[in-house]
């Protein structure tokens, strides 16, 4: 606690120095106009839509709301969304740690190419990502005939949805870890090795504790996107009710059928997930900042 206090008082001193500097202060009306504009913008584009989701969802009462959520098609959509996330997130976690480790701690040829490749899913439109899989695994695609002959279903089935989800959530963990691991350098790992640690010991006792908050942050973002993804999944889904519809796809279908209350009920569930994600993210940020301060004080 005292550590935090010392830190805070330093921060206040720093703040006073900054506010005395004329270059960083503005006359009152400019400041208030800017603040008002920001608040207006935020409420128009964030708070009002969020509130709409919930009011529309409950427009026909709580009965309709829960009926919409317990509808078999809705339940299967929720289940499929969770399956996709539960597979995609751990895979991307393992991949992200491995990639960030390689990129941050080693020098090798083609490193910048690897970084570019990791960023690819950010650059490509999700619809294209979905179409890529249709072109590869679709019946008219490269492996289409072989897959059909051997009775493998990839697209228009769950594997396709999982693949598309993995693709679009690929960079989150790696992108979060690379700058962090680069900043930390490799001295601590080297010290551990010199002191006789095995590879795994070094990873579990030195590397992982150092990156844990960044890793968690990446996983949270990855999970949020995995559950919310629409474009790529829509292309490979086939929209079979109760079988290959995820939550975002289910919302669209209900909306198109004029089933507004049900559409917003499922949408509110997604919004709740988003809010939960935000809360977790804030908690993680706060924890990691606290850790950083404590380490500084030591």
């Amino acid at each position: 606690m005292s550590a935090t206090n010392t830190h805070l008082s330093q921060y206040q001193k720093y703040n006073q120095r900054v506010s005395r500097n004329r270059a960083t202060s503005e006359v009152a009306w400019v400041r208030y106009t800017l603040i008002a504009a920001t608040l207006l913008f935020l409420s128009l584009f964030l708070f009002v839509p969020l509130a709409t989701v919930f009011t529309e969802a409950f427009r026909k009462g709580a009965g309709t709301y829960f009926a919409a959520l317990s509808d078999p098609d809705a339940l299967s959509a929720i289940k499929l969304t969770l399956i996709a996330a539960v597979i995609a997130v751990p895979l991307n976690l393992v991949f992200g740690v491995a990639a960030a480790w390689a990129i941050a701690k080693f020098e090798f040829k083609g490193k910048s190419l690897l970084i570019t490749l990791i960023d690819l899913p950010f650059a490509v439109s999700p619809v294209i990502a979905g179409l890529i899989y249709v072109l590869i695994f679709g019946m008219q695609g490269w492996f289409g005939e072989w897959l059909t002959d051997h009775d493998f279903k990839i697209i228009f089935a769950i594997p396709g949805i999982v693949l598309a989800t993995i693709f679009v959530t690929f960079p989150f963990v790696a992108r979060e870890l690379i700058p962090l691991m680069q900043a930390q350098g490799k001295e601590e790992e080297e010290a551990a090795l010199v002191l006789g640690a095995s590879g795994w010991q070094m990873f579990w006792r030195v590397t992982l504790p150092n990156i844990k908050w960044g890793l968690l942050y990446g996983v949270i973002l990855c999970n949020a996107r995995a559950m919310g993804e629409f474009g790529a999944v829509s292309v490979v889904s086939g929209h079979i009710r109760g079988l290959t519809n995820t939550m975002p796809l289910h919302v669209e279908i209900l909306y198109n059928e004029y089933n507004y209350a049900a559409a917003f009920a499922v949408a509110s569930l997604l919004a709740l997930l988003a809010l939960l994600t935000l809360a977790l993210k804030t908690y993680v940020e706060w924890q990691s900042a606290k850790d950083a301060i404590e380490i500084e004080q030591e």
Binding site: I83, V86, I87, P90, L91, L93, V94, V134, F137, G138, M139, Q140, G141, G144, T148, D151, F152, K153, I155, F156, A157, I158, P159, V162, G238, H239, I240, R241, G242, L243, I253, N256, E257, Y258
Partner: protein, 331 residues
């Protein structure tokens, strides 16, 4: 921790059903607004099949824009049967992927068309603009809501109906073109699909008249009460046929041919036709038509083929890029 993750992933991958057990389920890939109809039809068929064979089956449904749905089947969506609102969307399964034979329409009664609908007019209560027939739609102060013929089967049928109306009155191509030009000058917004046009007319209160399928018009009246709108039947309209087909390559692989065939035949049965009528789709098998005359006003209906030769010709002349519709609408 690491081991846990791996075993969890493997377990889940293993638990994912890659194939649904054969022949006890079929997938029907259909167009956008047939959901309510198929909900009832499927339930009835499942009961019928259970009584007949003792087998419990599932009918899965996939709905979406018809052209997009057909594309998915071409790309490998395992549809046992495909049910569309225009035959070109089934023809494409033969043209692009040889999934069905070219003569698929000859395999079931009535050219594989169990049900049909037709574009009719919906006007506001009391018919303030006195709209009685196609001619009234091109008057200068009338605002008409039609979905976009480029993107919607519904819009294509309405466009072709207007064109056919002129031709059947003895008009030549120039006259017909002039007529649809005037008609689309009166269209304030082109929605991309039938349901979008309904929203524009009903919820946003735009337009004096909505041209859409009879089935959709009845649904609007059922949902919103018949005191707000009135149906107007034009003197003549086009027959919008809803063809069905089983997808040979898929049913042979999944060994579901018998079930799929029975499902399609059920569309043509007494019961199937009744269910269609309950959803305001015109039953097409003559034996059962008489009892529905009270619901469906007898109308002079012409087929796409009789005026335009074939669907593919109509499509090419009127709706392709730079086709007649592009010429009259962009001006």
């Amino acid at each position: 921790m690491f081991k846990y993750l791996i075993s969890l992933t493997v377990a889940l991958l293993g638990a994912v059903p890659i194939t649904v057990s054969a022949e006890t389920s079929i997938l029907n890939v259909s167009y956008d607004v047939s959901r309510e109809y198929y909900k009832d039809l499927n339930a009835a068929f499942i009961t019928y099949w259970k009584e007949k064979t003792g087998e419990t089956i599932t009918v899965n449904q996939s709905h979406g824009g018809s052209t997009k749905q057909a594309r998915s089947v071409v790309d490998g969506l395992q549809a046992d049967v495909i049910t569309m609102n225009r035959s070109p969307d089934i023809d494409i399964l033969h043209e692009k992927a040889k999934l069905i034979p070219k003569d698929w329409q000859g395999r079931l009664p009535n050219n594989s068309v169990p049900t049909a609908s037709t574009p009719v007019f919906l006007v506001r209560k009391g018919n303030p603009k006195q709209i009685k027939d196609w001619d009234d739609l091109v008057k200068p102060n009338v605002s008409v809501v039609i979905p976009n013929p480029k993107t919607s089967g519904n819009g294509k049928y309405s466009y072709l109906a207007a064109w056919g109306y002129v031709v059947r009155k003895g008009g030549d191509e120039a006259k017909a073109k002039d007529f649809v030009t005037k008609l689309f000058k009166n269209v304030p917004v082109l929605d991309t699909g039938g349901r979008g046009a309904t929203t524009t007319f009903v919820q946003r209160d735009i337009g004096d008249v909505l041209i859409t399928f009879e089935s959709e018009v009845f649904l609007i009246q059922k949902e919103l009460g018949s005191d707000k709108f009135e149906i107007v039947y034009p003197s003549v309209s086009i027959l919008a046929e809803n063809p069905v087909a089983l997808v040979d390559k898929v049913v042979d692989k999944r060994k579901s041919r018998a079930l799929a065939q029975a499902y399609l035949e059920f569309h043509f049965s007494e019961k199937g036709q009744q269910i269609a009528a309950q959803h305001y789709l015109r039953p097409q098998v003559s034996a059962t038509q008489d009892q529905f005359v009270r619901v469906f006003k007898p109308l002079e209906l012409f087929r796409v083929e009789s005026i335009f030769g074939s669907w593919s010709k109509a499509e090419k002349t009127h709706f392709s890029d730079g086709g007649v519709f592009d010429q009259i609408y962009t001006r």
